[in-house]
């Protein structure tokens, strides 16, 4: 694998036929082991990685909290309910529409929203949705981006022309506007493609929208790497031995570009979570009654004076999640290829 040792950087900002990111290494240790060694030297980043894992674990525990602590669901309205707080009976939602603030108890720990729903429960379920969308969208983007980049870069010619123009079209739209356009239209009518039918309120809609939007951001640098790799001696040697294109892509080229996908993945997750929050805030992402941090901020903004926690808490969760992913992702990038300058810009 020494052919890949001196590859220059990959930079998403400057789309070009730039060669590839590498899993650099020497001295006998495998590239992955070297990367792990470098990663261990970044305790702060590792800590943020652990924070992210803790967040995932907490979100996964949402049903337990809802059932055994809060005794409600994320959808249940408690408009006319009353609860005991400090020995006093108080309305969950006041006659003037002001919801109860944090009680710091099991029920309505972080207060209620305007519909009398438990904010803490919705925060956890919203986090599950945000993480599910972020991780799923990033995974789909990675698969589609790698596939597109590999096919376009290896086959060149009309395959490259067609795929690159599609990428150009997607890239030409501002991310938010494309997200709103796709999200709004699909959430109204759902998605029907042959036997596949997805209802407008399904989480699959924002997952699909976000995944598609980010494909060019991965596909283009992958294509650049593949264009360079396909001319390398080891690829030519494999071709000369009669290896077919699909097998060649799979066994010779993919292993050399997979690290770029890995470098991108945490950043894609972070960006997907941010985009989901923005789209949901604008009504084009997660649809009611499903909670998400974006929809919770949207609801909370209207109560920023009387119930500031409604907007601040989900906002803080987004910041913590994205920050942890970005710091950890940066460290992963440095570990896999210290010279890479990977960025996702909108």
């Amino acid at each position: 694998m020494s052919e890949t040792a001196d590859r220059p950087v990959s930079d998403l900002d400057a789309f070009s036929d730039a060669p590839a990111v590498t899993v650099g290494g020497s001295g006998g240790a495998s590239p992955w082991r070297l990367a792990a060694r470098r990663l261990r030297k970044r305790p702060g980043a590792l800590a943020m990685g652990i924070v992210f894992l803790v967040l995932v674990a907490v979100m996964l525990a949402a049903p337990l909290y809802a059932r055994h602590v809060a005794d409600t669901t994320p959808y249940e309205n408690h408009l006319s309910d009353q609860i005991e707080v400090g020995g006093e009976t108080v309305n969950v939602v006041g006659f003037d529409g002001v919801p109860i603030g944090p009680t710091w108890r099991g029920k309505f720990l972080l207060g209620a929203d305007s519909n009398g729903r438990d904010v803490a429960v919705r925060l956890l379920y919203g986090g599950r949705n945000s993480l599910l969308i972020g991780l799923s969208a990033a995974l789909i983007t990675t698969v589609l981006g790698l596939t597109t980049g590999l096919l376009a870069g290896y086959f060149r010619g009309w395959t490259d022309s067609v795929l690159s123009r599609i990428m150009d079209v997607l890239w030409a739209f501002p991310v938010i506007l494309l997200g709103i356009a796709l999200g709004t239209s699909l959430s109204l009518g759902g998605l029907k493609a042959g036997p596949v039918e997805v209802s407008g309120g399904s989480l699959a809609i924002p997952i699909f929208v976000i995944a598609v939007i980010y494909v060019p951001y991965l596909a283009r640098p992958i294509r650049g790497e593949v264009l360079s790799l396909r001319e390398k001696e080891f690829v030519e040697a494999a071709r000369a031995q009669g290896m077919g294109p699909i097998r060649l892509i799979h066994s010779e080229i993919l292993p050399n570009v997979i690290s770029t996908g890995l470098v991108f993945f945490p950043l894609l997750v972070a960006n997907a979570i941010l985009l989901e929050a923005a789209l949901s805030f604008l009504g084009a992402g997660v649809q009611p009654p499903e909670p998400s941090w974006g929809t919770m901020i949207d609801e909370g903004v209207e109560r920023i004076v009387t119930a500031p926690a409604l907007a601040i808490v989900p906002g803080a969760m987004i910041v913590l999640t994205v920050l942890s992913l970005n710091v950890f992702g940066e460290a992963v990038r440095d570990a896999l290829d210290p010279r890479a300058k990977v960025r996702i810009e909108h």
Binding site: N77, S80, N115, T184
Partner: protein, 565 residues
């Protein structure tokens, strides 16, 4: 007229930008520097100037076209129709009086011919005389400009032919006018007991005969009224000044106004408006203060803030052509299971829980039916969920999937989510479907959508039950743009509407309307699920004599009653 507060994507984008810039809370806390001197004026009971605000530009500042509260509230004082309403509160404010006509119309020919006499000596605000043929021109503009109000006048003989001919200056056969005598005769295709109310609508506010057949928002035409629009800069401001000659006409029951000048500024941020009214930098805000600021407003300015119930009804439609709402028991169950006081909380208290389809102040409205005599229990009390569950079980519809339609206007989205949750508590498997407010009513009004149930509301255009009955009239069902969302089609109720349409004396048939309303809502029909009537806020600066402000049942806050202390 459907009226809701919009929370559009654009507004959300603006809010998002504010959040990103970290300015969200700053905006809440700060007033505008621009408006710091906007409220200055001289004092006194009459005279002086005030500055008020609207959140969005009125749809039109042209009486032929405007069909929103934003437009009607100011233009009522600029364009007086032949008939109008007294500037007083309560039921009296909904009683027809002569406006530019000498008297109420003489109705003949089985309710199909209306004769009116124009007052003598009337002049528009620009000094040109008012003549009878101006009425015909006014109606032609409404029809020709494809106004939202044009269908009200399509019952005039020759109106359809006029529209088909496509000649703006052509004649409408059913309108005969005599400029010398001031006589106006209107012939209708079908008798319509509400036509006098239609003549009193803002659309029929007289404009000169040479007013162009185009939207005149940027240069509103002269009218006859206590005020004249002297400046209009769309999306920024418009100015109304006292009409120079209106007082000399001495038209009974139409006041001449107090303040000399009213400047209406368009300020997108409702928080800013509320802060400015609190700080006396603005004298009045047309939209209610945001729910978030209401506690502050009530605490700091409770003596200049009040809420008044309007002639409106908020209800859930249940599509009788689609399962499970083709079963009366299911509709009855829903009526039992709705938490009306809970929904009132979503409206921040700006909803009077109720059970009547006809709104307060409307002839035929029965206050007892709307409160204590409601067949589903007192609307101000918690719902009878057990009864709802039992009825649903009897109907065999437990677990039935429902799609609950609503739009993203505030607070309709929250109401829709709450309604879906209430249906789930009854035993359905309901999911809300929120669509953009701009396409909502067209979407659910399209039969191909097969909308099962969802949000609906109606504000009166005029105080006559016919303005509500068409929403549940089987004869009004259409394949598209249908406003009878539940496809209510009951032969008996339809027949009652048809009979009462012919009755010119509304007072004499008010009890029949009352019975019709009860039959519509009560078991075994239970066609719709009304849950309340919207309240509208009056919030003024300290400079305004708050006690003198008149809240009109139709045109809401009456600017001609605004006077400086």
């Amino acid at each position: 007229m459907t009226r809701t507060l919009r929370n559009s994507v654009a507004a959300r984008i603006a809010a998002l930008i504010l959040i990103v810039l970290g300015l969200g809370s700053v905006v809440v806390a700060c007033g505008s520097d621009d408006s710091s001197d906007s409220g200055s004026s001289s004092g006194g009971e009459s005279g002086g100037s005030i500055t008020i605000s609207q959140t969005s530009q009125p749809d039109f500042l042209d009486p032929a076209l405007s069909y929103t509260v934003n437009g009607w509230e100011p233009m009522w004082l600029v364009y007086t129709p032949l008939l109008t309403y007294p500037h007083v509160e309560g039921t009296e404010g909904g009683e027809l009086i002569p406006g530019l006509a000498e008297n109420l119309p003489v109705v003949s020919n089985g309710g199909k011919t209306y004769k009116l006499q124009l007052r003598n000596g009337l002049k528009y605000s620009d000094g040109q005389p008012v003549v009878a043929s101006d009425f015909a021109h006014t109606i032609k503009r409404v029809l020709n400009l494809e106004s939202g109000g044009s269908f009200f006048y399509e019952n005039i003989v020759g109106a359809e032919e006029y529209l088909k001919a496509g000649n703006p200056n052509g004649d409408i056969k059913g309108i005969k006018t005599d400029d010398d005598t001031g006589e106006i005769t209107i012939d209708l295709v079908d008798a319509d007991a509400s036509f006098s109310n239609i003549l009193a609508m803002n659309f029929a506010g007289l404009v000169p005969g040479d007013t162009p057949f185009k939207n005149m928002t940027e240069d509103p035409p002269p009218g006859v009224g206590p005020y004249v629009i002297t400046k209009s800069v769309p999306n920024r401001e418009f100015v109304m000044e006292k009409s120079p000659n209106f007082a000399s006409f001495d038209i009974p029951d139409i006041p001449t106004g107090h303040v000399d000048m009213i400047t209406t500024k368009i300020i997108k941020n409702a928080n800013q408006q509320a802060q400015d009214v609190l700080a006396n930098k603005l004298d009045y805000m047309q939209d209610p203060p945001p729910a978030d600021l209401k506690p502050t407003v009530k605490e700091q300015a409770g003596d200049r803030y009040r809420e008044t119930t309007t002639g409106s009804t908020y209800y859930f439609f249940m599509n009788t052509r689609v399962a499970p709402f083709d079963k009366a028991k299911v509709r009855e169950a829903v009526n039992y299971g709705i938490d009306k006081p809970g929904l009132a909380r979503i409206f921040a208290g700006e909803l009077a829980p109720g059970c009547s389809f006809l709104p307060p102040g409307m002839p035929g409205y029965n206050e007892a039916f709307d409160t204590t005599d409601c067949p589903y229990g007192d609307p101000s009390q918690p719902p009878d969920l057990d009864k709802a569950k039992q009825l649903l079980k009897e109907a065999g519809e437990v677990g039935t999937k429902l799609t609950v339609w609503g739009n993203n206007d505030d607070p309709t989205d929250k109401v829709t989510e709450a309604y879906a949750d209430m249906l789930n508590q009854m035993g359905f498997d309901a999911t809300p479907k929120i669509v953009d407010g701009g396409v909502y009513f067209q979407t659910i009004g399209n039969q191909s959508t097969k909308a099962q149930t969802g949000f609906a509301n109606w504000f009166q255009d005029f105080p006559h039950p016919l303005n509500f009955s068409f929403l549940v009239d089987g004869d009004s069902i259409q394949p598209t743009n249908n406003q009878n969302f539940g496809n209510v089609d009951n032969a008996e109720l339809n027949e009652t509407i048809n009979q009462l349409t012919l009755e010119p004396e509304l007072a004499s048939v008010a009890d029949q309307w009352e019975a019709w309303d009860e039959a519509l809502v009560s078991p075994p029909n239970s066609y719709i699920a009304p849950y309340g009537h919207r309240k509208i806020a009056t919030f003024t600066s300290d400079r305004i004599d708050f006690d003198a402000v008149v809240f009109h049942p139709l045109y809401l806050n009456d600017y001609s009653s605004f006077q400086l202390k």
